[in-house]
Amino acid sequence: MTDPAYEPAEPAGPARPGDAPDPVRLVVVDDEPLVRQGLSLILGAEDDLEIVGEAADGDEALRIVRATRPHVVCMDVRMPGIDGIRATELLLHLPEPPKVLVVTTFEHDQHVHDALLAGASGFLLKRATGPEMVRAVRTIAHGTSLLFPDAVRDLLRPSARTARHDGPPLTERETEVLAHLARGETNAEIAAELFLGVETVRTHVGNLLAKLGARDRTQAVVIAYRTGLVDPRAS
């Protein structure tokens, strides 16, 4: 339990692990029962994770998320009816949206790219090991760092600089922090590299998320790549 990913970055989200933590509430969505049940077994075995619901398609996912209010939804992409991408969009329009972790068979998949643009907080390969899956869910839940920064960069490279950032401009420092954040660094790591205090970095991250209108680090990086604030080829 000394995982650096445990350091929470944002006020929103589950409580810190230090003070008698509430478990992270999870919903697993996959049309294949064996995958769904397998994911639930792996994730549910952890003390700090709790499976509060399962769904076989997008419709059911919306229903269950409304009823159970999970922190994180593990979402399959290709499903009959409402697919994972559309479901992600719909979920994120809920009043208190959960974070969406897209679970996919193939990494270089247009669907994953679409899901990230739809607002997913990260993605996970189904072929990942159990501990990797658990780590991914924790990272997403606590928002401490970017999940698979290299893969996110590769996925977003083709769509880079297709959007404009209309919000308030970022300061030089914030842009610098954003570039580090895009490399998947935690606040502590960024603080060490930029010779800043962790609290200062946390403030910068909070400010730049607000300025970009981003839900979390992943979405901040998605926006950064798409608007050209950070060059995906440079990092």
Binding site: L34, V35, L39, I42, P80, G81, K126, R127, G130
Partner: protein, 461 residues
């Protein structure tokens, strides 16, 4: 050294080209002689007692009219020669090996009118150009030489040409004779080159051939897409299940032996099903490979051709696979009636498509239809092959079981395969890729699904 080699090769090539023209001349001469003899006999029989043979006449025929007739008849005969089976092959071989024609030349397996016309024209050109070259070489060249000798000697040796007066006239005549002689001696060179350029246009693939080849390429691409999709949906999916379940089993192995055992059982079953599916995909690939080499592929993919009775008129693998599907569904309790046959010479790949599509439609019917007889209608007409499944409509499903979004069916050929395939959506996409359609919907008290594809016969592959 290299220069010498290149020069030798050029010489050899021109030699072969000349030989090709001379062969044309020989056959052309035979054709002309045959026509002349026939014409002479015809004229002789017709009886023109007053006519006499003399200079300027051919076999008793006189004037330009008969010469034109003979030329026309010779051309016609040469063209007919082009229609003789095997001549196309001979001409293609000759054009490739002797004339040195570059580009794509082909012997169509099933020649059409366009092929025949082009072959006939080519034979006429071959014989005609050969005769022309031979005539130039055999008459103009010696005549020019003789005339030059006459000019040098200053008296006639029988060329019949008048010797010009004066030194200037003689010099001019000598130059002209040299020019004509040289031109005649070398005329075959540009002629052969021009013909070798022309060969691909007359002996190569026609526009229709190219279109057909392109269509076949598209069909093959579609097949590849389909196989990739099958691997993605089938094997990729199964491996995902296996890895997730294995990870789950490892997570709970010390805590919950029962759940661990269940996960292991799921892994075993999934892997076994996937192996079967892999077998089917590999069989499809083997089919494709084999179908390209031999017109009729040998045994069924799973090698069961020997122990299952083939339907009459169907290929061994074809009947077996279709029957196997039907038998499987009958065993599962379906009251299945079949009417009609698929064309016996259906291309194996298309057969494969249809049987797989049928599998999906029947699986769908099995799951969602009300109890009652299911009818399968097979047939082909108008260049299209179709397959129609009629099942009783389940009232409960009548409303939601709309079209493509109907409940997902199992992957086609393997009724025991992992669930979660693409059902009718996938089938419809595949049909569209092959230029066909899938229509499904309620009609009266029945649910009717009809798969319609452009007919691809075996020879056209």
């Amino acid at each position: 050294m290299i220069d010498d080699d290149v020069r030798m090769e050029i010489l050899r090539r021109q030699g072969r080209r000349l030989a090709w023209l001379m062969a044309g001349a020989a056959i052309g001469l035979a054709v002309v002689l045959l026509v002349v003899v026939v014409a002479a006999v015809a004229v002789g029989l017709g009886g023109e007692p007053g006519s006499e043979a003399g200079s300027g006449t051919v076999g008793g025929l006189r004037g330009a009219g008969p010469v034109a007739t003979i030329a026309g008849a010779s051309v016609l005969l040469a063209a007919l020669l082009g229609l003789v089976p095997g001549v196309r092959e001979l001409e293609v071989t000759g054009a490739r090996g002797m004339l040195g024609a570059d580009g794509e030349l082909l012997v169509p397996r099933r020649p059409r009118a366009g092929h025949h016309a082009r072959t006939a024209l080519w034979v006429v050109l071959h014989l005609g150009s050969g005769l022309l070259c031979a005539t130039l070489l055999a008459t103009f060249v010696p005549s020019a030489a003789l005339f030059l000798v006459e000019l040098a000697a200053g008296r006639s040796f029988g060329s019949g040409l008048p010797l010009p007066e004066g030194a200037v006239g003689r010099l001019g005549a000598a130059a002209l004779a040299l020019l004509i002689g040289a031109a005649s001696a070398l005329a075959w060179w540009p002629l052969g080159a021009a013909l070798s350029r022309l060969a691909p246009h007359l002996l190569g693939p026609t526009a229709t051939d190219r279109l057909e080849a392109a269509e076949q390429r598209v069909a093959r691409e579609a097949e590849r897409t389909r196989i990739a999709r099958e691997l993605h949906d089938g094997i990729g999916h199964a491996l995902t299940v296996v890895s997730v379940q294995a990870a789950a089993a490892r997570t709970v192995q010390h805590r919950d032996p029962e759940v661990t055992a269940a996960a292991l059982a799921a892994i075993e079953e999934t892997a076994r099903d996937a192996t079967g599916e892999l077998d089917a995909v590999l069989a499809l690939l083997r089919d494709e490979e084999g179908g390209r080499r031999t017109p009729r592929h040998p045994a069924a993919p799973d090698g069961r051709a020997t122990d299952a009775p083939a339907a009459p008129g169907d290929g061994p693998a074809a009947g077996d696979e279709l029957e196997r599907h039907l038998a499987g569904h009958r065993r599962a309790g379906m009251d299945l009636h079949r009417r009609g046959e698929l064309p016996a010479d259906l291309a194996p790949l298309q057969h494969c498509h249809l049987v797989r599509g049928l599998g999906e439609l029947l699986t769908n019917a099995q799951r969602h239809a009300a109890p009652g007889p299911v009818t399968l209608l097979l047939g082909a007409d108008d260049g299209r092959v179709h397959l129609e499944v009629t099942s009783p409509l389940d009232d409960a499903l009548a409303e939601p079981a709309d079209d493509a979004a109907a409940p997902p069916a199992d992957s086609a050929a393997q009724p025991a395969a992992v669930p979660g395939g693409h059902g009718l959506v996938g089938l419809r996409e595949r049909a569209a890729l092959l230029g066909g359609t899938l229509e499904a919907g309620p009609r009266g008290e029945h649910w009717i699904a009809r798969l319609d594809l452009p007919l691809l016969r075996e020879e056209e592959r």
